[in-house]
């Protein structure tokens, strides 16, 4: 077989397998994310079904996948929403990050992985998967629930915190000594603030500049711009993901609706490739050793997210049942934890990647089930609250 033929056949096999998996996930009501990850584990070296997949090609696809995931996420938000949520719910965000980040950091320190890994692990355990959470809320018909704004508020704050956190982590990983680390963090955060201000103030200009022309022209110019911004951001250690996210926030107006339609299918394809690559880059033979700690972390992660949701719900004036539902909805972790693992790579300790993969596997499976599992208990809480209410 020629090289081109081999590439097409191998790539086709991977993508077709993902299609079959996606259909299966839909039928049993599971999020496809953990299944894509499992597929990646199976296709890679040491897996059940080593496909000899074209890894360089898939790695490039995974990078594009991160850019598209974050670009589309940024499109969902307007600058006003971000600033408004930050103003109203900042205390909840701080509690969320502390409550969920500290167990991860403590785990890394106890395992003797060092401070950089502790910071990375804090991010892995802290950030819920916006993608999985909003899909579960939509699928369960909970968009109208009165605790839902509190849940969405927490997600927004996490995404914002991410935009500050990733540059710090990227700079720390790139720097060697203490002084140079501080310098690169300062540069990264400086660039971040400048880009954020420009995006908030002059987003409309940008939207008008790219918004004319046919769908094809729009798709090409926005995709090109996103890759350029992401690459530039990566070069100055702000991280590609944050660059794409900021561009998504900057684009506004009617353009957003069109872009969502155009970029949606592309995002789905490349995001799937990203999850597969996350699995491919891990040797499944390393998983059994980290399974137990990851399971322990996941259990703590469920408890701390439920506590966060409870607090956020109470702050929003929601009853006990709604508070429990809010907590259960926040359980899934996914793309962000894997993005962090991708950034860290094998740079800190070899166990880092497999631990995160096992952690995400558990919580991406358990996460979408958590709201359904919590429902009977929530019902009982609601009945008790109704009885104690004066008639």
């Amino acid at each position: 077989m020629s090289d081109a033929a081999r590439l097409l056949v191998e790539l086709g096999a991977v993508v077709l397998a993902l299609g079959v998996i996606g259909r299966l996930a839909g039928r049993i009501g599971l999020s496809p994310v953990p299944l894509y990850l499992l597929a990646g584990l199976a296709f890679g070296t040491g897996g059940l079904l080593p496909l000899d997949a074209p890894e360089d090609f898939i790695e490039a696809g995974a990078d594009v996948g991160v850019v598209l995931l974050l670009l589309v996420l940024g499109l969902e938000y307007t600058a006003d929403e971000l600033v408004g949520t930050l103003r109203r719910q900042a205390p909840v965000g701080v509690v969320d990050l502390l409550l969920n980040g500290l167990p991860g950091a403590a785990f890394a320190l106890v395992a003797g992985w060092g401070p950089t890994a502790a910071l990375a692990m804090a991010g892995v355990t802290a950030i819920s998967s916006s993608g999985i959470v909003s899909k579960v809320l939509t699928d369960l018909g909970r968009l109208g629930n009165r605790e839902t704004p509190a849940v969405l508020g927490v997600l927004v704050l996490e995404d914002l915190a991410m935009a500050a956190y990733l540059p710090i982590l990227t700079a720390l990983l790139a720097a060697s000594g203490g002084a140079s680390a501080a310098a690169s963090i300062a540069v990264a955060l400086g660039v971040l603030v400048v880009v954020l201000v420009v995006a908030l103030r002059h987003g409309q200009l940008l939207s008008r500049a790219v918004g004319t022309g046919s769908d094809e022209v729009l798709l090409l110019s926005v995709l090109g711009l996103a890759l350029l911004v992401a690459g530039g951001a990566e070069a100055v250690h702000v991280s590609a993901a944050v660059g794409a996210f900021l561009l998504g926030i900057a684009l506004s107006g009617e353009l957003v609706e069109r872009l969502r339609g155009l970029l949606g299918p592309l995002r789905d394809l490349f995001a799937a490739v990203f999850f597969v690559f996350a699995g491919l880059s891990i040797d499944p033979r390393e998983l059994p050793a980290v399974l137990l700690p990851a399971l322990g972390l996941a259990l703590v992660g469920v408890a701390t997210k439920v506590a966060t949701g409870w607090l956020a719900g109470r702050r929003a004036g929601v009853g006990p049942a709604g508070r429990l539902r809010a907590g259960a909805a926040l359980v899934p972790r996914g793309e962000f934890s894997l993005i962090i693992a991708g950034l860290v790579g094998g740079a800190v300790v070899p166990e880092f990647g497999p631990t995160v993969a096992a952690y995400v596997l558990v919580l991406a499976v358990l996460g979408p089930l958590a709201p359904r599992l919590a429902d009977p208990l929530a019902r009982r809480l609601a009945l008790r609250a109704a009885r104690s209410r004066p008639a």
Binding site: Y77, L143, G144, T148, E257, A378, A382, L383, A386
Partner: protein, 160 residues
């Protein structure tokens, strides 16, 4: 009655209200144009008991069903409230010289003293039409004025 508006970051807006009968209902408007009609649980007022997703067209249809009779009701109430005020629906007949003319062209208010407050077209109401509103055959003009003024509008529009 108080309609509460809540922002749903990344999704859209939620409006909800408590009815006089004690049920809470709401509408979630997604930025994509889709609407969710929400009925809240009686035991747990924070939870939805049922959610119906509506396409933009379906949402328009429901809005019209709920809203259209209310316009007629309000009109008839208006008529009762203000004595000496007449309301009438005057059709633009097919073949009338006014098919294709604008509201401004007819100079109805100057000539008759009566006002066109709405135009019913294909089951939909266009409220407060502007002077450049162009008539089509079978439009029904809702005219308000003195009985005399309304009669003059009818005579004018139906004169050959």
């Amino acid at each position: 009655m108080e309609v509460e508006e809540t922002r749903l970051p990344g999704i859209g807006l939620r409006h909800d209200l408590l009815t006089a009968s004690g049920r809470r209902i709401g509408v979630v408007s997604q930025s994509t144009g889709a609407r969710h009609l929400v009925l809240y649980d009686e035991v747990d007022p924070d939870a939805t008991a049922a959610t119906v997703e509506l396409t933009p067209e379906e949402a328009d249809a429901v809005a019209e069903l709920l809203g259209a009779p209310r316009i007629t009701e309000r009109l008839s109430r208006l008529r009762e409230q203000v004595s000496g005020l007449a309301t009438e629906g005057v059709p633009i007949l097919p073949g009338s010289p006014y098919v294709g003319a604008t509201l401004g062209d007819t100079a109805l208010r100057t000539r008759t003293g009566a006002s066109v407050v709405a135009v019913l077209r294909a089951g939909e109401a266009v409220a407060s039409p502007t002077p450049d509103f162009r008539f089509q055959a079978d439009d029904r003009l809702i005219v308000i004025g003195t009985a005399d003024g309304v009669a003059r509008v009818r005579a004018l529009l139906h004169s050959p």
